[in-house]
Symmetry: C2
Subunit: 77 residues, 2 copies
């Protein structure tokens, strides 16, 4: 969280986004955020708010737990 910056959140946004053939701008539009915010998240420069995570999950037709995790994702799905 904000007060525990050494606690990252891993995500599969880019994987899920490209699987749907969406650009960052496309996803940003769907989620209602700036396109660069998607970039920051994909590069894991910071972790999203819960609201944004829920919106992104919805935009990508995924469960939050499928897209975001406190532990690194295993390779290849």
């Amino acid at each position: 969280m904000s007060r525990n910056p050494e606690e990252p959140v891993y995500n599969r946004i880019e994987e899920a986004r490209t699987a749907l053939g969406l650009s960052r701008q496309d996803l940003a539009d769907k989620a209602g955020v700036h396109y660069q915010t998607i970039g920051y998240l994909e590069r894991e420069e910071y972790s999203p708010s819960l609201v944004l995570a829920l919106r992104i999950a919805k935009s990508l037709n995924q469960e939050v737990s499928q897209l975001f995790s406190l532990n690194p994702f295993k390779k290849g799905k």
Copy 2:
């Protein structure tokens, strides 16, 4: 999100917490946050970061989607 304050997140933290017989302090300890932060969340005065949501879900043995939603929860489960 931060930039969309008119977009609340609904949650069932209190419901799930009391079902486990935990006080707010207990849950706060498990999730590693201040006990008043749990209070703010239960009263839906603000929505948590994704990291905190994931930690709370883990502490309560629930899926994020079972605890948090962009839409109001129906009554009784």
